[in-house]
Amino acid sequence: MDTRVIKRKLGLKERYAAMTRGLGWETTYQPMDKVYPYDKYEGIKIHDWDRWQDPFRLTMDAYWKYQGEKERKLYAVIDAFAQNNGFLGISDARYVNALKLFIQGVSPLEYYAHRGFAHAGRSFRGEGARVACQMQSIDELRHYQTETHAISTYNKYFNGMHHANHWFDRVWYLSVPKSFFEDACTAGPFEFLTSVSFSFEYVLTNLLFVPFMSGAAHNGDMSTVTFGFSAQSDESRHMTLGIECIKFMLEQDEANVPIVQRWIDKWFWRGYRLLTLVAMMQDYMLPKRGLSWKEAWEMYAESNGGALFKDLARYGIREPKGWADACDGKHHISHQAWNTFYNYNAAAPFHTWVPTDEELAWLSEKYPESFDKYYRPVFEFYREQQQAGNRFYNKNLPMLCTTCQIPMLFTEPGDPTQIAYRESRYEGDTYHFCSDHCKEIFDNEPEKFVQSWLPVHQIYQGHCFKPGVDPTAPGFDPLAAVLDYYELEFGRDNLDFEGSEDQKNFQRWRTGAA
């Protein structure tokens, strides 16, 4: 038998390199720039892709092994929850509205991320970056699919979830997440990573995750908690992609720094605005509460984000421009948003309500500087009206910010009694914004943002009716026609929680009545 000695053995890093970047080569039959047409046009200069560091060195066999284990455990819980009517264990049926917001506004974003990372996973010249993006692409498909499955049980028994994907493409407030992610996906791959991997999945991720998951835990929804934790472990890998991409761009060429800074400014602000919906959910939709939005912001944005930007200072990166205004907003945005949705609940497929006295007391305690002064009186007035039989629903349409597409409900930093209005003129038209930062985002890329499909504009232009509808017919009710286009079931999906089918059904099921 011949004694054979393999002359050289590879260390861990080298072995992983052989398994990824060692697979690629410089093409010669087709020019590299034609094979990789999308990774230079943003102006980011990369001199040496070999400097890309892969922090989690997961080969596919390890990926399948560990993810397979996670899926087995997760689906066991989802199945048990479904079999045992686990939804009967939640605190109160109002909680389900948090899940409605999730399946309508968050799950579709997972799908966009899946496709966006597929594009990034083909576009970068560097093999290590492509592998990380592709793993993220399939992880995001996982999130879309597991969320769809986990919430499926709720969808069988409660309203406001069944047409989520249709609503996402049409309903007014859902253009906020839709435009956010489409802005990211239609940008180039480096901006995409700065937007999603860094700004959203690194800087802001805990502000999406903690509110929903701890909300679920406090309200007896173990299925969602389990999903949340299982998905969040994928997020750890995603976060490292984000921080690695940022460091890599900043280290490759000084000229990249101002480009990256501008993206960080833009995406911190767009991400912060998107989180308005989460802030509102956290402070108003959870019958049993944990952290307030303000507390979550202080913990995860102010202190954790603070540490991060101290770390990046050595590259010449500063805190995002909107940082101070975002911190100012922590006292206000959840209340301002809930007020808006309470008003527009006829056109939104989830329920709203006036908080109970206990909940109002919690809000006073958590928001000592703002709640009693500016917001309690509003909700107490609404309750009075409701009790007098005047639960009103606003039948007009709000003005939207062109950039973030949220109704103009935000106030001037430092003065919550003044709605903030900004505007820009571009090629003969006037555009409106909620803040200096949304205005600046527009001014930097007007050709992009003039394309926005603003739901209110589209309604007024007659683009939100089903085919064959005649707006000139006598007795035409435009709002009803829009709700029909939305496929919103009037009286089931929308309006106040009081008197809703959700409320009646849950009460009946819980008390065991047949």
Binding site: Y29, Q30, K156, C185
Partner: protein
């Protein structure tokens, strides 16, 4: 003792989401695959054109010449959604781990004749790069294709290719060490045997139509490569000559090819059956790329099988043609 189990009977309001029911019928309970796949992709009211492709919308069916009234008709017969795909692959990787242990404990690699080990590396190591091309192209199909039914399995397929490339890498390290990988790359870049295939692969990298790319990669190239290499070379030739270890350590690839061919064939069949135009264009792609792939594989077959090369390649082409005829291509 009697046990009285009173279960509360609560009637659901609906079977599933409306965007799923639209495809499977009202009142039907969907499979997990259906519920997670149907109607997932946004289709209207896009906000901005891609700055990287302003001639199309973000998701745009017109990127391909193939026309479908409903892209969700392209179902995957394996019904893979993330969980079922991952758990299937986890079982397969477990089995590969056992194979590695088996081979290592019995010193089966050392027992292979040295020339056999070297030959296996000469043939298989450059194929790491072909598999990498398969990864890149399927990532493209996922990024630029239309409809979740078609695009989601493409990303799974991309990562399967990466898995295959990594198993090949591991095999090379076990057989001959890191030098084998370097030599494989050199051959891929410079040896005349590999240039037609490398040219083929690089030409696929610039195909713009995602369905044509699907045909060029998954139908034409892999449809010939896998039977030739893992069938004729590894199973029929190497294993028969003292290289069983190699067959064990590449078992994933043959299994995967058989399984994923079901998906590839179903996609071709459904798309071709939709219209005469689709059938014509897909047939033309399959023929053109198939002929090119066969020519590109000729020198590789000769390297692997010597005199038996022509027959093996002809057989592989016949096998592929049979599949395509069954799928309804002209």
């Amino acid at each position: 003792m009697t046990i009285d189990l009173k279960t509360r009977s609560i009637e659901p309001l609906r079977a599933t989401y409306a965007h799923v029911a639209k495809y499977i019928g009202e009142g039907r309970i969907p499979s997990r695959y259906e519920e997670a796949t149907m109607g997932a992709q946004p289709m209207v009211n896009f906000h901005y054109r891609p700055t990287w492709d302003p001639d199309h919308e973000l998701f745009d069916a017109s990127r391909t010449r193939v026309v479908m009234s409903d892209w969700y008709k392209l179902r995957d017969p394996r019904q893979f959604y993330y969980a079922s795909w991952t758990m299937t692959r986890a079982r397969q990787q477990d089995s590969m781990e056992s194979n590695y242990q088996f081979v290592e404990q019995r010193g089966l690699i050392d027992k292979m004749p040295a020339e056999m080990r070297q030959k296996v590396c000469r043939v298989l190591m450059p194929l790491r790069h072909v598999a990498w091309g398969g990864n890149m192209n399927n990532a493209s199909v996922c990024a630029y294709g239309y409809g979740t039914a078609f695009t989601a399995p493409a990303m799974m397929h991309a990562l399967d290719h990466l898995g295959a490339a990594q198993y090949l890498t591991r095999l090379g390290l076990a057989l001959e060490g890191p030098d084998a990988l370097d030599e494989g790359l050199q051959a891929w870049l410079e040896d005349p045997i590999w240039q037609p295939l490398r040219r083929y692969v690089e030409d696929t990298f610039v195909v713009q139509d995602p369905f044509e790319l699907f045909v060029a990669q998954n139908v034409a190239l892999d449809g010939l490569l896998y039977p030739l290499i893992y069938g004729a070379f590894v199973d029929d030739h190497v294993a028969m000559q003292g290289g069983t270890a190699v067959a064990m350590l590449t078992a994933f690839m043959s299994e995967w090819f058989d399984e994923s061919s079901r998906w590839v064939d179903a996609v071709v069949k459904t798309a071709a059956a939709e219209s005469d135009d689709n059938c014509a264009v897909i047939t033309q792609w399959a023929r053109a790329w198939g002929t090119r792939a066969q020519a590109a594989l000729q020198p590789v077959a000769a390297l692997a099988l010597g005199d038996a090369a022509d027959a093996a390649l002809t057989d592989a082409r016949a096998e592929l043609d049979t599949r395509l005829t069954k799928a309804g291509l002209a």
